[in-house]
């Protein structure tokens, strides 16, 4: 193990996951055609190149441009309400010729760098921030989150909040402030629920919280996913032989439920192997974060780790029926240009910060 550097390991794991994702997409192409596979292949190649470029940058450059990067994405998120494209009820995409881009994916990186920039610029080794010092980081987090909620894209909004709070909690909050925040949150729920939300928005949240209240989709999809995973048994049904996924009973099998396809076709062994790859990357990223000297670098690295972690947790919990369904991709495994590119950018940043 010592013979290979840590960055080589991260690179190897990343490429293994990307290849697994492509193989998986290919295995269900019988039904949907090779379209998705080809597109994803192009995105992966573009992602690898982007990752390579970012990893060669000077770490200082990342820090210097984090604000501009964040602001640029925030403006895109606002512009989406003017020029955006609506897909299945959410206005989240920009159509640029043949490709569609989802800025809400990239803002994850933007938030991480912006928060790292804020905490990294602090003089001294401060920890346990007071409420007045939390105003700025919370604003950096809340502004894009509001834009994403308005799209509306609850899944991404939740991920944003999870990533942001992970960083804020890592740096710590004074006990008094934490108490106050909980109280304010609880009090504000009632007026927001009754005054700000429209009936149908409340309805969406209802069905989001209670799987049985939405007859269309949630429980049904979750059950289909569990049948797919369970029927994979120990060794799986074999490449391209997943009956649930290939007969199209598994919904969104190439995006949100791509993990279920792997579990059906490659069984417990395959599923745990992917799980192992995934969590190894996360652990490597976190180890890297602790080893870095610069505060900005540490926090950025931790943020990227948190981003991978929360995506994995929500996606896999949803596929295995441990959680209601939130449309969240599993990086590298799920089909999707913007999320794949975001994942490669994240790894590129980690590789860049490792270099010293």
């Amino acid at each position: 193990m010592q013979s290979l550097s840590r960055s080589s390991w991260v690179l190897i794991l990343t490429m293994l996951l990307a290849v697994a994702g492509l193989v998986n997409l290919y295995s269900i192409s019988k039904l949907t055609g090779l379209e998705a596979f080809k597109k994803q292949l192009i995105w992966v190649m573009g992602g690898v190149m982007t990752m390579a470029v970012i990893s060669r940058l000077k770490p200082l450059m990342l820090k210097r441009h984090s604000f501009a990067f964040y602001l640029f994405l925030l403006v895109l998120l606002v512009l989406i309400f003017v020029f955006g494209k609506t897909v299945s009820g959410s206005r989240s995409w920009f159509q640029l010729g043949p490709i569609s881009v989802q800025p809400s994916e990239f803002i994850k990186i933007g938030i991480i760098m912006m928060l790292a920039n804020y905490y990294g610029s602090e003089v001294g080794l401060k920890s346990n921030y007071r409420s007045s010092e939390l105003f700025k980081p919370l604003t950096f987090l809340i502004l894009p989150t509001i834009a994403v909620i308005a799209q509306p894209d609850m899944g991404t909004a939740i991920i944003l909040v999870l990533i942001g709070s992970s960083i804020i909690l890592l740096l710590g909050i004074s006990r008094k402030t934490l108490l106050w925040m909980i109280i304010i949150l609880l009090i504000s729920i009632i007026p927001i629920w009754h005054i700000m939300l429209k009936d149908y928005q409340r309805e969406r949240i209802h069905s989001f919280l209670d799987t049985s209240s939405d007859p269309f989709g949630i429980s049904y999809n979750s059950i289909q996913s569990q049948i797919a995973i369970g029927s994979g048994m120990g060794y799986g049904k074999g490449f391209s032989l997943g009956s649930q996924s290939n007969l199209n009973f598994l919904p969104a099998h190439h995006t949100d439920f791509a993990f279920s396809v792997i579990a059906e076709e490659w069984g417990f062994l395959g599923a745990v192997f992917i799980l192992l790859l995934y969590f190894s990357i996360i652990i490597y990223i976190l180890i890297t974060a602790t080893s870095l000297e610069d505060r900005f670098a540490t926090i950025t690295c931790f943020g990227v780790g948190a981003m991978f972690f929360w995506h994995a947790v929500i996606n896999i919990a949803m596929a295995t029926g441990l959680m209601p369904i939130i449309g969240t991709p599993l990086f590298f495994i799920s089909y999707g240009g913007s999320s794949t590119l975001t994942a490669f950018i994240g790894i590129g940043i980690v590789l860049c910060l490792m270099r010293k």
Partner: protein
């Protein structure tokens, strides 16, 4: 930095815990329960069925069902289960009364849908079709029969316009209404729409597993799916209306083939007893969804959703003289004892205004002017009154204002100098005042407003708020509405005049006279185009009005009849009102007798 290291350690722990949880979950699903899932996935298909909730029933004031549900069988298909839409279309074409080509196209479209929810192929199939499908269910993959509820209107067209109809929710309704899905049935018109949130129930949900032959095997599923939750159907709430079904039918019959409306209201509490509007429509056609050509054909001849009693605004003609006369009395512009000579015409600035009676009425006082409906009297006296005074009295009687009924209504026009300046940007002319006094010109009203106006005279000064829903049955329904100060002497004067309009020798409403009950009323014949333009064409004929209340001495109901282009109000509308009034009192007597008989 020590603190940060400490927190990183917590993060590592957190990550490890989740890795273990997920591995364990996968172990449970794939190894421990794997065998069961494998068997299930190889042999069965999971279906999610929505069980449609029946809408609430609608009752009339006597507890008679006027709108309820009958079972209907709908043929549905699961898009994702279709493997060969061509052969399915072929097989179905042998059973259903739909051309194979149409079915082929429909099924091809359905099969391409990325939907897990069943789509309807045919609604309300016949018993024969149902039998044939059940018999061939093994050959017809992906198909199932849904037990639905179809709305049944026992009185057909008589109440269709009032009750309205339902249809599939559109995008706007899905976004604005509470708890609605795109495939849900919602009220689109009339009572069905107004009380939709109560009438609509909550659909149930059923997960079933079927094997390759379309046979249900639910036990196998329940075993492996502990989290599976079915949902009970919750029926919609019943609604009780103030409508009397028998009176409604009578009113509808009375209109016959004419275009028009009849409104009957309880003058004491504003309960609407009947609200008939013609032309109506056959709700069966809406349910079955006629093709556009068929629908157009129907509409041409006899097809309307339009509730003329509240959405139609008409020049009120002479029925408005009730208000004008009241205004003249109150403002002391007309001494009841003084007279005006009517030669059959009247001149303002060399412009001639005719009385409806060309030969004139001779000397006319206010009483006679109402009874015989003399126009010249009102021309002369209203000039002194002025348009803005008249406007304020019209307003007092509720004209030009919404009545507050729960159904969608128009409010008509109650003109004034300010109104004309605002909307027409022109000054008011004297000639416009005098024709407004006899209900012509800019003034328009809905038949319900005219009914309320009549009820004010009958009940002694209360503008009722019309109700179509029976509220709490145990408490006595009190008058709701605005009690305004009406001079009782003036009202008594009007009551006498309205009685004589029906019951005296020369009254205009003699065709409403009844042997069963005393009737008071006022006729109206509203010009559609100017009198100079004589035409025999039906659509240029006058609107016939008659508004009345009965019994004359202690009024119970007010009845308003409007017949579009019907001609003379006294000849066409008054007999219709009479028929409805007589039916009301005959029914009342019969019901009292049976009640006595039952209690003895």
């Amino acid at each position: 930095m020590e603190l940060l290291k400490h927190r990183f350690r917590a993060a590592f722990f957190f990550v490890a815990v989740f890795f273990i949880i997920f591995s364990a979950r996968l172990f449970y699903l794939q190894i421990y329960k794997g065998e069961e899932y494998r068997i299930f996935s190889e042999k069965n298909v999971l279906r999610m069925l929505e069980l449609p909730a029946p809408r609430g029933r609608i009752f009339d004031r006597n507890g008679e069902k006027i709108l309820y549900n009958k079972p209907s069988f709908n043929l549905k298909v699961f898009p994702k289960e279709i493997t060969n839409s061509e052969s399915l279309a072929e097989k179905l074409a042998e059973i259903l009364d739909i051309p194979e080509k149409e079915l082929r196209e429909k099924l091809r479209k359905i099969a391409s849908l990325e939907s897990f929810h069943p789509i309807t192929i045919a609604k309300d199939i016949s018993r024969e079709e149902l039998f044939l499908i059940e018999k061939n269910v093994q050959a017809l993959e992906s198909i199932f029969i849904e037990l639905g509820h179809k709305r049944f209107y026992p009185h057909g067209e008589a109440a269709a316009v009032l009750l309205g109809y339902t249809g599939l929710a559109d995008t706007k309704e899905v976004n604005t209404l509470h708890k609605i899905n795109p495939r849900d049935e919602v009220g689109k018109m009339g009572v069905e729409k107004v009380f939709d949130s109560e009438l609509r129930g909550t659909n149930g949900l059923n997960y079933i597993a079927v094997n390759a032959h379309g046979k249900t095997i639910s036990a196998a599923l329940a075993n492996i799916m502990l989290t599976l939750r079915n949902k009970e159907v919750i029926s919609g709430k019943d609604i009780h209306l103030t409508i009397d079904a028998q009176l409604q039918t009578t009113a509808d019959d009375a209109l016959g083939e004419e275009k028009g409306t009849i409104v009957v209201m309880d003058v004491k509490n504003g309960e609407i007893l009947a609200m008939a509007s013609r032309p109506s429509y056959n709700s069966e056609h809406i349910w079955k969804k006629l093709s556009p050509e068929q629908e157009n054909k129907k509409r041409e001849k006899y097809f309307s959703f339009f509730n003329r009693s509240i959405q139609g605004t008409y020049p009120p003609g002479s029925v408005l003289k009730i208000v004008t006369a009241f205004a003249l009395l109150e403002e002391k512009t007309a001494d009841p004892k003084s007279s005006v000579y009517c030669p059959g015409y009247y001149f303002i600035n060399k412009k001639r205004f005719n009385c409806w009676r060309k030969e004139g009425h001779g000397f006319v006082n206010l009483h006679k002017a109402v009874v015989e409906s003399c126009d010249v009297y009102f021309y002369e006296r209203s000039l002194k009154l002025g348009v803005d005074k008249l406007h304020s009295y019209l307003k007092k009687f509720g004209l030009g204002e919404k009545t507050g009924i729960v159904l969608p209504e128009k409010k008509g026009i109650n003109p004034s100098t300010a109104w004309k300046r605002k909307y027409l940007k022109e000054p008011w002319y004297k000639g416009e005042t005098i024709i407004m006094a006899i209900g012509q010109g800019y003034v328009t009203a809905t038949p319900l407003q005219i009914n309320l106006m009549t009820a004010v005279v009958a009940n002694g000064g209360t503008i009722c708020r019309p109700k179509i829903r029976k509220t709490d049955k145990t408490t006595l329904s009190a008058i709701t509405g605005t009690v305004k100060s009406f001079d009782q002497k003036s009202l008594d004067f009007l009551k006498k005049a309205l009685y004589d309009a029906v019951n005296s020798e020369r009254g205009t409403g003699i065709y409403a006279r009844s042997k069963i009950v005393s009737v008071s009323g006022k006729t109206g014949t509203a010009q559609v185009v100017s009198a100079k333009f004589e035409s025999t064409k039906k659509r240029f004929q006058d609107h016939a009005w008659f508004t009345a209340y009965a019994p004359s001495d202690s009024p119970e109901i007010s009845v308003t009849v409007l017949v579009e282009n019907g001609g003379s109000g006294g000849v066409v509308a008054a007999p219709m009102a009479k028929k409805v009034i007589e039916t009301y009192f005959t029914l009342k007597k019969q019901r009292e007798e049976t009640q006595i008989a039952e209690s003895e």
